[in-house]
Symmetry: C2
Subunit: 419 residues, 2 copies
């Protein structure tokens, strides 16, 4: 069979399975999730052996060390995956919730019911845990899914897929609810992106080039996650200690995450009090500062920033620093250079915080908290499949609710419409 017909068949099977999982009740989905967790624990040896094959191939192919690190699956990793599945099982079922049911003047009763999206395609890179994380979230939200992991993790992903299949069958669900593409042929991705008849939405998880390719080629809607060029703005009269703590934590708590701050904006009235204290803490942490002309007065050791620095997502221990006239300039800078991901104001001014919240058009707008909080777990979603930088459908951390849609439900007793 050709690649194309293989993929089309996978799509058709997913569509059929999606109708079954959409109508499955909470109990059945819970049984499946628990059985998947069970199967992973009892397949520990196979999972480790499969992962070893991937690691050997990676070493042979000279894969870069950070990529190898992300590929490793050890006992602790398996336990984390299992805990993740059980955590998703414990979340409330979003499917079927009817909200705002109310009577209209015509006598009909109108509400909206939360329902699955249908079939979700997910394309991701090296970490094998994404296979089971994504599968659990799709299943809980009543969706069928087609998963495509990185070729370097093919053995691990296939072994994990086996555990998922076992769990689905034990719960009496069709195994096609979760299908993992078992070939490393890159053409399979191209086929997947064309299958708008069978795939309702595509979620790419990975680097910028993957996301750009998927956005350009996909024939179905895409929930994407682009750059996180996040800002912390230290407002006039901010509490200096709080500002330093937030500015430092927003950068250093974790560097390679999209919610790490990349540019620090400082009101000129705060520069002399705030910058030297912050610089000392950054130096301690080994963060390189790239500073504008005005801020360098207070940061003798900083490198001079170029225009490029305002639009760079470092994902590492580098921070751009700029002194601005005040709130209005900060908002303008964020509008020009930000990526509408996560931006924070440190302020004690009522009018300014209110204006920052209203005017900064980002998926998360924060007041007096670290940007590193922009995360599905911290927001109480229970889990997340990614952080959307799109405006339509879902913006910010995407949890179970973001993996569903709503339909109108209308009930009556024989009403007809007379215009």
């Amino acid at each position: 069979m050709t690649m194309q017909s293989n993929m089309l068949e996978m799509g058709q099977r997913a569509r059929v399975a999606s109708r079954i999982i959409a109508a499955a009740d909470t109990q059945v989905k819970s049984t499946a999730l628990k059985a998947i967790a069970e199967a992973m624990l009892s397949s520990r040896a196979e999972l480790l052996a499969s992962n070893k094959l991937d690691l050997e191939a990676a070493a042979k192919n000279g894969l870069a060390q950070p990529l190898i690190d992300r590929l490793v699956l050890d006992d602790k990793g398996i336990e984390q995956m299992v805990a993740g599945v059980l955590q998703v099982e414990s979340l409330g079922d979003p499917v079927g919730v009817i909200s705002d049911m109310q009577y209209m003047p015509s006598g009909i009763q109108v509400g909206q019911m939360r329902v699955p999206l249908g079939v979700i395609g997910i394309i991701y890179e090296s970490r094998p845990n994404v296979t089971v994380d994504a599968a659990s979230l799709c299943l809980k939200a009543g969706n069928a899914c087609i998963l495509r992991g990185g070729s370097e993790a093919i053995h691990s992903n296939t072994a994990i897929a086996g555990c998922i299949k076992t769990g689905l069958l034990q719960a009496g669900l069709p195994p096609e609810v979760v299908q993992v593409i078992g070939t490393t042929d890159r053409a399979a991705v191209g086929e997947l992106l064309k299958m708008s008849e069978y795939v309702d939405v595509l979620i790419p998880r990975g680097g910028k080039s993957l996301i750009e390719r998927v956005s350009a080629e996909a024939t179905m809607p895409v929930i994407k996650h682009l750059d996180g060029i996040c800002h912390v703005y230290v407002d006039d009269d901010a509490d200096v200690e709080m500002a330093v703590n937030i500015a430092v934590n927003s950068k250093t708590e974790k560097y390679a995450v999209c919610n790490a701050v990349e540019t620090l904006l400082v009101a000129e009235s705060m520069a002399s009090s705030f910058l030297p204290l912050a610089a000392a803490r950054y130096e301690q942490a080994g963060v390189e500062l790239r500073a504008c002309e005005r801020s360098r007065t207070f940061l003798p050791n900083a490198v001079a920033a170029s225009d490029e620095d305002w639009e760079t997502e470092y994902l590492g221990p580098i921070l751009a620093v700029k002194v601005v006239g005040g709130l209005a300039q900060a908002i303008d800078h964020i509008a020009s250079y930000g990526s509408q991901h996560t931006d924070c104001i440190v302020s004690n001014d009522y009018v300014n915080t209110r204006r920052f919240i209203t005017e900064v058009d980002s998926s998360s707008v924060l007041v007096n908290v670290s940007t590193q909080f922009a995360d599905g777990f911290e927001y109480g979603l229970g889990a997340e499949i990614g952080i959307s930088t799109d405006k339509l459908h879902v913006r910010g951390p995407v949890g179970l609710e973001g993996m569903t849609t709503r339909k109108y439900v209308v009930m009556g007793q024989g009403e007809v419409r007379i215009r």
Copy 2:
């Protein structure tokens, strides 16, 4: 200046204006809407004269009569447009509503704020009233918009655009909040569809070929409205009189609308009692029936249906009729041939209605009411820009809320994240 640079400038101006209208308070938007209504009333003579130019051109170009009918703007039409603007003015402002604000274990307080989408592009066909309807809805929801009407309505649309501009200026808003493309050059649409940097979402309103072109070419997300192949299913033991009333009203109340029923599905146990009564009413209304083999036993005057009839949106006095074994077959038929728009069950069976609501995957699922109710006004949205057959973002009638998105707002008092 070239078409391309003209369009790009329009996009840039829209982006700038979108930040101003997004932050405008309810009062300012209301002032603008009232001033637009005022300007239309006082420009009555100019509006009628401009429309006359369009009608003369249409007659000269031999435009088909139904298209000419849609183009006509008379005193009553102007009053309806004005009433529409004032009605939008009277709706609640969706922007800035913060919901679900709650404390998390870390101490941060997380909620979601409803915010404008930014810049909305709307491409529509002959009716000039869409210009002001769309502009009012975009404005009220805090969005800037770029409107492109049909070339046959260019004079009417330009005159309406003048009234909108007057109203915006009177409210102290930039006129670029609503821009109407003033050229009939078709290349302008192609340029608009490429401007994803300046246009956040595109809404096509018109025939299938327009919507397909926009979906294929647009580089930004599209909220689209495709076919309405709607079903009424008459379940076992349905009340015959109710079933006849709903089946007839769903077709005949208005034919050329997307929520008109196109296929009637009848449980075999109901065929002998229901079909002859329904047929008599349809005959009276002049509706042609195209019936399956089994239903023709009860419908001697009906034409034999072909497979094509199950997937045709007639938008006229024709109805396909099919006898099915019962609920499961009805649901399967709808899944195979429906367009996920609006489907109705007439039933008095608790289990069956519950199953129909759960398993029929359409933007509106109705129980015991006419399909013609699937409409933003009837659903209490106040107004609608269209009916979305997409699954992402907004599904079914699209009102003010569908023209906004939500961002996370997080407030704290210096919390930092410790993993």
